[in-house]
Symmetry: C2
Subunit: 324 residues, 2 copies
């Protein structure tokens, strides 16, 4: 157990979710020292503690963590998924180390070359799934097609609607724009059998014309962080304008119900829990700085994906049997 | 004269700016039919009309426009800059055609391989300049260094503060992340003599740690459109929350001063007017859908860059004489 806030945040969040899902078994993996003193009294029947001797630090180099921390809580949690003792694992720890460990231990679904990070983004029509959000710095056309298949399976799974509309992120909607990679990926996707709607642009993620937006990890990560930056910038501007003098503060007080509803609606914690797709197992990455509410959302994502066996669905979509 | 709104919007905006700058000569280039019937009465002394026989349409292919529309208003406006009859040109028309025409007619500043589109983005510290926003789909490390030099000159020019802090957009702040291109560009920038602060991420554009953010045109364009999409999404959510029932509407009324100030502060029209940098001449691209207020801002950007002779400053920074 790691993350910026550590076990103090993760443990109570996990126990809360365990109470909400009595039919699901939860294993908390962490150092013995991190187990709460009152564990026996607090833990529900369906929660167990598995002791690990060390923890991957947030600033450990992914390769070093993989090589030298074979008894870390992260490694042991992923090993549980490999052994099918667990159906999913969730971590708020070091993203690179989690990706490297999961890739090494679980291996890829046949037909997928690289894992991708996928998440949902709020949109006018509900939400859009976007990938890759940073697992890889580059992607080949074939890999972009694989991302599209995985994103499609994910969207189908979560929305329970068949044939999600898949778009390829580009800098113009005309067929002539973009570099060679997106042009070739466009050809592959047009012939993929997916419900491919063609090129989409950065603002389309929030619209209602597409359910899955596919891009390379560099562009996807920049887009995601740009969204976060824009939202934070606007939130700060709002705070400033609503606290500029007594009259403005009074206005804010009277507008409190609308402002509160807006805050809750745009709360990024609601969208916590990114899926590392393409692996032979469900691995969910929580934001490192997630608080209890946010971490619970990430665990809920893991429960949903495990129930639906997303890796098997992806494998089926790729027309190759899952190696599990 | 083109753009989504055409001369009905551009002409009054240009005449308004002409009245504000009696020391600047304005030439409006458009078809005779587009000249207002009451031109003689309305135009101030420092505004002239130059007739063009045709106009580049918003959906013309850039190469076709360049080849076959040599008497278009766009081409004639750029020709004026080439002939030094004008010090800058502004267009709300077809971006690709403007870029192709300006590139062909004006040529590049020695030492710059490709033009880039640069714009300012509001940030906590005032604003950040970002480039390339979509002139090119890809960029080599050497071109990213050239973008950095141009962005630095632009920021210095507009902010009148020497040594603007330049950051390179990447998906992590650690030196190990990102693909080969950004890694090599990082090396070039570290040795460039610019005030290079290293890698920055998508959210840093809005922070106060960097003045110029450099990236390739694909990533920059996606980031820009993602910002626009996020802002529009939040604005719509605000409208919805503030109109949900009578009490909410009353709250909005009482919060009107703060909401109005917020709207004006975040108004994207204030940031209209992107610079096509790297050319031997000042060329400003207005958003195609710009209204009069926004188009005036784009003309103001052109006036400022022409006064400061930005191309000469860029050439000086590149240690090569400007060919003008």
């Amino acid at each position: 157990m790691s993350g910026d806030r550590g076990p103090e945040t993760c443990v109570p969040a996990a126990l809360a979710v365990a109470c909400e899902h009595p039919d699901v078994e939860f294993t908390l993996v962490g150092r013995e020292a991190d187990r709460p003193a009152d564990w026996r009294e607090r833990a529900p029947r369906n929660a167990a503690w598995l002791a690990a001797s060390e923890v991957v630090a947030m600033n450990d180099h992914p390769r070093e963590a993989l090589r030298h921390k074979k008894h870390s809580s992260m490694r042991r949690a992923v090993d549980l998924v490999k052994a099918r003792t667990a159906h999913a694992c969730v971590s708020a720890g070091n993203t690179g180390a989690l990706m490297a460990t999961a890739h090494f231990v679980l291996k890829m679904i046949p037909g997928v070359e690289r894992p991708a990070i996928a998440s949902w983004i709020p949109s006018r029509s509900g939400h859009t799934f976007m990938l890759d959000l940073g697992a890889n710095a580059t992607a080949t056309p074939a890999q972009l097609r694989q991302f599209a298949v995985m994103g499609s399976a994910l969207a189908e799974d979560r929305s329970a609607a068949p044939g999600p509309r898949v778009g390829l992120l580009n800098i113009g909607e005309e067929d002539i724009k973009g570099d060679e990679t997106v042009q070739k990926a466009h050809e592959l996707l047009s012939a993929s059998g997916l419900n491919y709607v063609g090129f989409v642009e950065g603002h389309d993620v929030f619209g209602d014309d597409v359910d899955v937006v596919v891009t390379d990890g560099f562009t996807g990560n920049v887009a995601l962080k740009t969204m976060e930056g824009t939202a934070r910038y606007i939130a700060q501007a709002m705070r400033e304008e609503f606290t500029r003098g007594a009259m403005r503060k009074l206005g804010a007080l009277l507008a409190a119900p609308a402002l509160g509803a807006l805050r809750s609606r745009l709360d990024p914690r609601r969208y916590n829990g990114a899926s590392m797709v393409g692996l032979n197992g469900v691995v969910i990455k929580s934001h490192g700085s997630a608080d209890g509410f946010a971490f619970q959302r990430a665990i809920e994502v893991a429960v949903a994906e495990a129930r639906d066996d997303l890796p098997a669905r992806i494998a089926a979509k790729l027309d190759a049997p899952a190696v599990t």
